[in-house]
Structures are given as structure tokens and as C-alpha cells.
Amino acid sequence: MKIDFSMLREPYQALFTSGRTYAAFDKDSIIPLIDELKEYELIADPMAGFGSLMIWCAQRGISTYNIEYNPPTYLWGILNNPTFSDSISLVVNELISNKFKFPSNNKRFAISNSWYSPESYEIIMDLYSNIYRTTSKYFTSNAEEISLAILIPFVGRLSCYVPGNIVANVKRGGICLFDSLPQDFQTYLCSLENRINIINPTFINKEHEFVFGDLRKTEIPRKLSAFITSPPYPNSRDYYKMFGPENDCILYLKEKGNIEDYTVEEQLISCVSVSKYVNKNIDYSSDIVSSSARDFIRYIKNYNGTRQAKYDNKVYYVPYYTSYFFHIEQAYRNFSKYLTDRCDGFIILTNNTARNKTIPVAESIMEFFQSLDFNAEIVDKYTRELSHVGSINPRVKGFKAKHMEYTIKVSRR
């Protein structure tokens, strides 16, 4: 059977077919960095996202340790973890043979303002139970997690949603069609099996850990000597909401007692919701270490634009960037506690622009690591200018369209 993921939501279509989607690592940028760290047996990615680094390291014989806080992306990492690929293949194979019988309600459709209709929730419960029954034969300690990882990419098919203008946007509400649901699920499983069969033989190293955690506070039970990572961009994209249907499904299954806990207690870094900071007059910009970040925030605060621009800056952009830089530093501060005395790492990031000024993500992160007595500098040979990436305004030109990608080398001897 050919590989067909067209019944899935757009981020998963892209992830399954090309291995990457919005804001994921670009392979050409990362492979040279992996090669520079080849003396190390293990490379960490403390903000692992979709786990691309794990795959490429596995193909090069290097172990990885990954942390991710967004539940659907974490589960994607679990699904693609080379450590589990052999057993997941067996699970999927058995699910295909079992040919799950969908509940028959004779309904062709559901229309809802929520992510899911009651009929869809019922199907999701049944699907999860069915997958879990099979998974638990092959996985003793983490059957629940593996079951969820297999289920989650498919739940979008059962949701009521309308895609936004870019893959990071999705609108809640719409029509879900129940036609061909059994065939779509079979096609999904067969395509998943095919994909595993193609990618599995490429793995040389199958020792990888993928951990659910908030880098701002998580405890890492080991010391790390090498890392490659990339922070979320301050581009007002909400990665939690990007997976709105999937996160809602996870919360639903948790409410029903089917799964343990993938609670996101604190907003993801770069989350767009800042109202709680505005309302409580919380101002912790003085807690930000990096002077370049503080200067930028001050610039936005004092920006001499239109009345609307000044208002937007006050209620949104100042709290947004303050939150962003504060939480990035918090995350890297915690992470630095688990680095060995001798360590090397790369951080890839993008400076874009706001209010006619470059957002100093690279400068602030460099400054921050230097304040912790690390060496941190931009590696010029990896610097590149990107095209107008991720903007919804194609008419923007010149400075505003400029995005510079930097690679910072962080080391300690």
C-alpha cells in the first residue's frame, strides 16, 4: 500500500512525509553541527520539538537525550524514538490485522463550535482502548504513552476545525465527516507501518530518551556534555494552540482517567497569551539578565509610533517580549546546571524584527551564557539570511522582511 497521510491534519501530513513542519530544524543546518560534536557519545536537545535531532543522530550512531513540553510534539518524539521502533512496528502490524470496528451511529457528519463533537469523543475513547489493549502486549511500563503516541496524529481526522492561513494557525469549530472513517484509519496505520519500515533500518543507534518536561524547572537525572538546540522564536505563534485538537484530546482522555498526566502547568515559552501579565501589572523585566534584551524591551516601551501602536505595545508587545526573554533565560539557567565542566553545544536561532528594530535573540542568549561563565559566540560560517519566513504579510519588504539565522557555539572548559 502506498503511503497516504492526506486524511491527517496539515502538521502531521508534513511530519509524516518530510519529517518536519513549521519551525522544525532544517537538516542541512544541523548535520554539520552533529559532525562537529562527533567525539561525544550523547547529544542533548533540551527543547526538542519534533525530535528531528534524535532521528539524525540515530542515523549517525549517536545517542540523544531530549526534553519537550508541548504534549503532541512530545508524543511525536515518542512515536519516532528509535528505541521503540521495533516494538511499535509490531503493535501497528497487529492493529492493522485486527481491523478495528468503529461504532455504528449512521451519522455522516457532526458540526460543532468545539474541537470535537460528542460522537467523535466516543470514537476516540474506543480507539484509545483498542490501541492500548494491543500496545500493552508489547510494552510493559509505558503502554499508555505509546498508545497515545499512535492515536494522537489521527485524532485530527475526528475533529471539527478549519485550518488557518499558515500551518501554525488552526480555528476551532467546523464540520467533521464520518464517511470512510474505518478506511482512513486503516490507511493511516498501513502508512505508519510503511514509514517505520523505511526509516527503522537507517538507525544505527537506538538508545534515546525522550522526556516530557518544562526546561524551566525540570530535573535532569544525568550530566550532559553536548547539546544542539533551538529556542522557540518570538514570532507570536502559539505552538500549543497549533496542536489545539490534539491537546484537547489529551485533556479529554486525562479527564476520563485513561491517561496519566501531560498537563502544561505553565504556558509554553513564546506563547501568545500575555493577559495575565498585563492584568496583574507584573513587570519582571528587571529580572532579565541580558542587557540587550532589556534595551530592546525599553525601546518597545518608548516606541514613538501611532496611538494604536503605542497601545498595542503597552498591552501586548512589551509583556510578550518581557515574558519571552525572561522565560528563555529561566530555561537555560536550569539547563546549565546539568552541563559538565567540559561541554560543547550549539544553539540555532533566528533574529527577526519588530517595530523597525532587530529582536536581539542571538545577542541576549550569548550574553546570558557568558554571564554564567560559558564561552558563547556566533559561528559566522553558519550565519545566513532567511527569506521572509512565517509572515502573513507578503507585501513587507526590506528590513522588515529580514530574518537572520545565527548559530551560537556555547562551550566550557
Binding site: R108, I111, S112, N113, V162, N165, G174, I175, L177
Partner: protein, 389 residues
């Protein structure tokens, strides 16, 4: 006079345009080249199985000669191809008449162009004789199709009578929200070959319901079903009962960005036609118009999005199963309306503040063809229904 051929297709010979055809299977109109008339008539009357060309079969054969999967829904609706029509003359007689059979409606759509005739502002018909008279006057102007609209035609007590009187004389289309669709209506549509155009502006209920809210009085009568839930239920009900149906959506800033995905959903459901309408600015919806469409720059962006993005997507992905028509309403007096009390009118082409304009001041219920030509922009009328606006 319009004639229904053996295939079910309606045809009429227009003194200016030539042969015009209406398909009750797709709800679409086509102008047919003079040179193909004889063979076309033969084929439509099933005297031969060979149409003048494959293009005719792919367009007019849907529903009786070919399966929907083999259809080709291209624009403009000039057969066999647009290149055969260096000039398209305006039709002499109206192609389509919109009969607002009632001004009553359970909905209160924000952009409604007929608000000046609704909710008692225009006298409702009260006898069957009145309906007979209106039908007689409509048929005198020799349309190819009559659209029963309103208000909500399904709440008219004279709907069945009107359909029976028009049956086989003209094509019949019913424009409805589906809010009060019943089994009785479905039976009526099936028995009399009525094509249904169902209004739905977005698949996201809160957006559709914002644009098409229920009138408060209706909530007491029909309960608090939303307009989107009832429209989608009606859609599936009509399809299940093999009633030919298309969707009509009014484009606004609120729903425009959802249109591409909405079209995909309609395509998957099996809807064969989708018509996008840009709002007609009228005296009564002026304030809403500015909020829903915005300034001239917003209007241009909306137009560009529809014409460039959606239509090109239709050409690439949906041509073989779903027609997409765009009605830009830039010529308000391109339509012929019949009010609930039987007067023929159109919209003013000078200012939205003027409102509806009687086509014939002397004989408002029996206009002459000259008065139609003097008030209605017949070129725009032709372009509207043959989809080359």
C-alpha cells in the same frame, strides 16, 4: 417559451442570445452556439445519443447522460467554448426571475438585500388566486427559470401551489436557509424536480450564526437550533433524498479566509455546486455592509482573493465535480425581482439609498419587455447567469 426536453433540460430560444439551456441537475445555465442547435436539440430530446461535442455532454449531460464524476464544470457558461462567442449579446427576455414569494423569514441575516420588503413591509399574498395571477404574469415575460425566494420560501403557505403552477413550464429553483425544511418539502422537491440552493456562509457555526442569526420570534416558535446546524442537517437530508442541491455563501471579511477549506468540505460531502455572492449594498444594510466588507481596499482584497485564489483552485482541484460561480453584484439592476404583492422591480443602479425600483410604473405587476430593457441592465443580467461577470 421555455420547454423541458426529454432529458429534463429546459431550453428556450432567445431572440438575441440564441438557445439557452438550464440544467435542473446542476442548477446552471448555458448559452449554446447557433451552429449546434439542431443536433443539440436532438440529443436533449434523446433522439440521438451523440451531442454536438464531448463538451456538451460533460456540461449538460450531468444527471441524465453521464455521472457527476465525468462532469466538467468550467466557466464561463458558453458552449461549446468561450472562443465560439466573440460577442455575447444581452438576452432579450430575462433568463431568471427571483420571486420573493414571502417577506417572512425565521432568520435575520446581516446582509439581507430584501429587508425593505420583509416582515410586513410589503403586502403578503392572501389567496390562491393572487398566486395564480403572479405566476401568469411571470410566465408572460418568458423566463427560463423562476427562483422561489424571500424571505424564506419554505414558510410560505403557497409554496406548493406555486411549484405546481410553474412545473414543466420553467425550471424551478428554491433558495432556502433549510431552517424549516420538512419531509413534506423534500417530497415536493422530489416530485417536481426542484433544484435547491441552500445558504451556508461558513462551516464554523459561530461565524455562520453571526452572519445569519435567528430572528428572536423564531426561537420561541422553532426552538434555539442554530442556523448552521439546521442548514447542514438540511444539506445532508436533501442529498440523502437525492434532491439536487448547491450551496450559496455570502463572502465577508468574517468568513472569507475559511472559504478554501469550506470548499474542500463541500466537495467531500458531494455538493455539486457552490455559489459565492458578494454583498449587495442596499439602503437597509448599509451599516452592516461597511462592517462586513470594509473600505474599498478591503473590498478589492476580498475580490482578489475570490477571483484569484478560489477560482484557480476550482480549476485545479474541483472542476470535475463541483461548479463554482461568483456573483459580484456590482450591477445592482441586473436582477429581476417579483415582490410578495406581485410587483416587478429591480435595485437602483444609482444609489443604495433609493432602494427597490419598479420596472414598470404604469403596470407594476405586468411589465412590458421595453420597460424591462429600460430599467434592467440586461447585459449584466446575462453575464451574471452565464457566469462571465
Amino acid at each position: 417559451m421555455a420547454i423541458q426536453t426529454q432529458s429534463g433540460i429546459f431550453i428556450r430560444t432567445d431572440p438575441a442570445l440564441g438557445l439557452i439551456a438550464y440544467s435542473p441537475f446542476s442548477g446552471l445555465f448555458y448559452a449554446c452556439a447557433h451552429k449546434d442547435e439542431e443536433q443539440l436539440l436532438s440529443w436533449l430530446n434523446k433522439q440521438t445519443s451523440n451531442p454536438p461535442s464531448l463538451l456538451y455532454k460533460q456540461v449538460l449531460g450531468v444527471g441524465w447522460a453521464i455521472d457527476n464524476k465525468e462532469a466538467q464544470y468550467r466557466t464561463p457558461h458558453l458552449l461549446p467554448e468561450a472562443t465560439n462567442w466573440p460577442i455575447v449579446p444581452p438576452s432579450y427576455n430575462p433568463i431568471l426571475i427571483n420571486w420573493l414569494i414571502t417577506g417572512n423569514c425565521p432568520l435575520n441575516c446581516r446582509y439581507c438585500y430584501a429587508q425593505d420588503l420583509m416582515y410586513g413591509k410589503c403586502k403578503e399574498p392572501s389567496t390562491e388566486e393572487e398566486i395564480e395571477r403572479i405566476v401568469h404574469n411571470i410566465l408572460l415575460v418568458d423566463p427560463l427559470v423562476v427562483v422561489l425566494t424571500g424571505g424564506e420560501p419554505l414558510v410560505s403557505p403557497y409554496l406548493e401551489q406555486a411549484i405546481k403552477l410553474l412545473h414543466r413550464k420553467v425550471g424551478i429553483i428554491v433558495d432556502t436557509s433549510g431552517y424549516t425544511l420538512s419531509e413534506k418539502h423534500i417530497q415536493l422537491f422530489r416530485d417536481y424536480g426542484v433544484f435547491v440552493r441552500l445558504s451556508l456562509d461558513s462551516e464554523i457555526p459561530r461565524i455562520n450564526d453571526f452572519l445569519r442569526p435567528i430572528l428572536n420570534i423564531s426561537i420561541k416558535k422553532h426552538g434555539s437550533r442554530s442556523s448552521s446546524n439546521s442548514a447542514v442537517e438540511a444539506l445532508f437530508n436533501l442529498i440523502k433524498n437525492d434532491i439536487k442541491v448547491s450551496i450559496q455563501s455570502v463572502a465577508t471579511k468574517k468568513n472569507q479566509s475559511d472559504f478554501e477549506y469550506f470548499a474542500n468540505t463541500l466537495y467531500k460531502i458531494g455538493v455539486s455546486g457552490w455559489r459565492i455572492l458578494l454583498i449587495t449594498k442596499t439602503r437597509d444594510n448599509k451599516l452592516q455592509f461597511d462592517k462586513l466588507v470594509g473600505d474599498k481596499i478591503s473590498q478589492r482584497r476580498l475580490n482578489d482573493y475570490i477571483y484569484k485564489n478560489l477560482l484557480s483552485k476550482q480549476q485545479k482541484f474541483w472542476t470535475n465535480k463541483m461548479s463554482v460561480q461568483v456573483t459580484n453584484n456590482q450591477n445592482p439592476n441586473a436582477v429581476v425581482l417579483v415582490t410578495p404583492d406581485g410587483a416587478f422591480c429591480t435595485e437602483s443602479n444609482i444609489s443604495a439609498d433609493v432602494g427597490k425600483v419598479l420596472i414598470d410604473e404604469v403596470y407594476p405587476t405586468r411589465p412590458s419587455i421595453e420597460s424591462i430593457h429600460n430599467t434592467v441592465n440586461m447585459y449584466a443580467h446575462t453575464a451574471r447567469y452565464l457566469n462571465f461577470e
